[in-house]
Symmetry: C2
């Protein structure tokens, strides 16, 4: 590991991310869009012999070239990016009390289910019609399914709108959607690798549902009892004149977050699902332990690398093929429309009192695919189940939905909650 190179790369990436965020915030867009676009610019910036990626020692392994591998600097930046989104979801979890989540129940559930079925069916049908390959169609459909709750969550957090009806539906739906998306991926992957097996489908589905269910039950019944037990012991030991044992709450919560993220990865779900659920375990005591502020500093350190990295993975040169370009545009339109209709209708079915603005907010808020689509596509590419053209299309779709949705979403939010919430420059830059 070259420490000088790492420090230089980190500093330059940080500076460029902040410049990107500051520039787009002039137009009222959330900073993450500037960070993603800055990532795209960094990946493609070169003057003659000078390439910024080379200067920053960021060589990314090419899935098409088996013997290529990433530079150590890039692998470390990638680890920061992963930890950033894990801690971001942990913070979102800290703000999600089980009580509130179950309250959002039916609309979130219906939005998630319809928001998974529609894109899957449409994506599958499109690729069968255009390309005819069954595996290609399955992976494309799976890549179109999963919403990237990270991006929407950041907007909601930036605008301080966590306690609105729409935010609760979106966050709830995104969690269910993520779980469903991972189940879809696991099924598609399993089918591609070992043929369709009802046992595989059932086993991964049961694991995912059990994981979420157990955490929710733990939040409701176990955590309060554990907390009361230790609080009681603490009070008794103070009353007895002894110095009470105490653990560093920040370290304890980080350990739980890492363990649950690792466990989620282990059983085939995404790490962010684990960290989100870990956050929920601490939600009732986050304020008392000042966890949100402490974790937020850590998230601030890591998260810009995540959004930059989403941009870094876009190679603009793939766009020179007209056929790929047109397919990408069609896929993007379908991806936007199916999520909008699926989630909007689902939410409205579950909550009849949701007004038109709420329908729009939920529909648009569920649009961004972010990194999840890209992860699905890269798994497809790695197992030879996806062509490199379709991989480029998925990356473009993920980035486009991620860029298109946030400005519309923040406009819709601002329109509906105009008077109550005012974004300050400090929140955006």
């Amino acid at each position: 590991m070259d420490l000088f190179q790492l420090l230089l790369t980190m500093a330059i990436l940080f500076i460029l991310a902040r410049i990107g965020a500051a520039l787009v915030s002039r137009f009222g867009l959330p900073g993450l869009i500037g960070e993603i676009v800055m990532g795209i610019i960094i990946a493609n910036l070169a003057f003659g012999d000078f390439s910024l990626m080379e200067f920053l020692d960021l060589s990314i392994s090419n899935p098409n070239v088996p013997e290529s591998h990433s530079s150590t600097t890039y692998e470390i930046i990638e680890a920061f990016a992963e930890l950033g989104v894990i801690f971001l979801l942990f913070t979102v979890g800290l703000e999600t009390k089980v009580k509130d989540l179950l309250g959002a129940g039916k609309p979130a559930l219906l939005a998630a289910v319809l928001g998974v079925i529609l894109p899957f069916v449409a994506g599958f049908a499109l690729i069968i019609a255009v390309d005819g390959d069954m595996h290609h169609a399955m992976f494309m459909a799976a890549a179109m399914v999963a919403t990237s709750v990270g991006i929407t969550a950041r907007i909601i957090k930036d605008m301080k709108l966590m306690d609105t009806r729409e935010a609760r539906i979106i966050i709830g739906a995104a969690v269910i959607d993520d779980v469903l998306g991972m189940i879809v991926l696991a099924i598609v992957k399993g089918m591609a690798e070992s043929g369709v097996s009802i046992v595989n489908i059932l086993s991964i589905s049961i694991q995912a549902v059990l994981f979420v269910g157990i955490v929710i039950l733990a939040c409701k019944f176990v955590v309060p009892k554990v907390y009361d037990y230790f609080d009681d012991r603490r009070q008794k030991s103070i009353a007895a004149g002894k110095v009470p044992y105490s653990v560093n709450k920040l370290v304890f919560s980080i350990i739980v977050c890492l363990l649950m993220a690792a466990f989620a990865e282990f059983i085939g779900l995404a790490a962010i699902i684990g960290s989100f659920l870990a956050g929920m375990l601490f939600a009732d005591h986050a304020w008392e332990w000042d966890l949100e502020h402490k974790i937020e500093s850590i998230t601030t350190f890591f998260i810009s690398f995540f959004f930059l990295n989403v941009g870094l993975q876009v190679d603009i040169s793939t766009l020179t093929d007209m056929h790929v370009l047109i397919l990408a545009i069609v896929v993007i339109l379908i991806a936007l429309a199916t999520k909008y209709i699926g989630c909007g209708v689902g939410a409205k079915m579950g909550d009849r009192q949701l007004d038109k603005a709420g329908f729009n907010i939920v529909g648009v808020g569920m649009m961004p695919r972010g990194e999840v689509g890209i992860i699905v596509a890269s798994i497809g590419l790695g197992t030879g189940m996806m062509s490199s053209d379709l991989y480029a299309v998925v990356v473009l779709m993920s980035v486009a939905t991620t860029i298109i949705a946030p400005p519309i979403l923040s406009k819709l939010f601002r329109k509906k909650y105009h008077e109550e919430y005012k974004i300050t420059a400090d929140d955006l830059i």
Copy 2:
């Protein structure tokens, strides 16, 4: 990068580090000792076919085997360790106001200079007498010079003794000592590589002195003016009814910290000198911007990996060679004695009012070599200027001085400041 492996390794290392810290704190020792010892245990723990290092995917490149290289997981953990000590020194810098540092002036300067000359001369003479190789002797002497301010700083911070006379002498001396140590290393390295050159020696010395001097002058004269200018603009824009532009102070300070650490590496000094000086730049506004708390969360996340990593690099099997073992013991005794006498006498010469307890605290506080000696030794090994036996001796010396000094130091501190400062369980675990 294998995300599951990384998360699992991080979680297990975190848990083991906290267990180590909690166990030693039962004996009144600072947690970092437990973390280092835990690192040694992790590196050497194996049952039959099971090796903990393998389970954690921590393979460390062996400098003796040219084609060996570290696992990606280890390289990421190593990056965390480096960032941990960089942010730790940044926090120490945040608490070091230039005004106070210059106040510690003469005793710190004399302690540093004598504390460099004595170990260098003694180390050089010993290896010339035992081994006879000029290059070996030079590198061993250089490895014995540098104090690891990180370890002493953590004890001082843990015990909340930053504002004592001794702490100021130690921190001041350690900074000067680090700069001197790096100059010694640069000279030794330059001599080994391209022969003695008065131009090289002068140029690296001037660079180091200039860097520190410019930062101190900037703290005194430039930073207050820049701050007043922006504060003034802010006030005017508020008075004019506009929303004032503001930057995220945490991100801004992290960028400055990373840039200065990179710059220090670039000119041949250690990264921690850069981050320490960066901290000093913000010292006057750290409280106002709540920087200490925010950076502390980030440091908490990273720092355990640093102390674990110090332990991880110890291979107990080298101790089976009786010759190496005896040499190691002699080197450790000389390393302890020369720092104790050099720094104690230097501090006393500079500050006649320093009492016996103060002499002891400064002498013991400057003993730990920590990572700095190991870095010097690995550079020597990498350039073929050091034998692998002597490398093992330096590692043992660094670890031993780092383990021996802290408990004595905390006892000395507690004896002198018994009534005023009481360590609570929360500070230690």
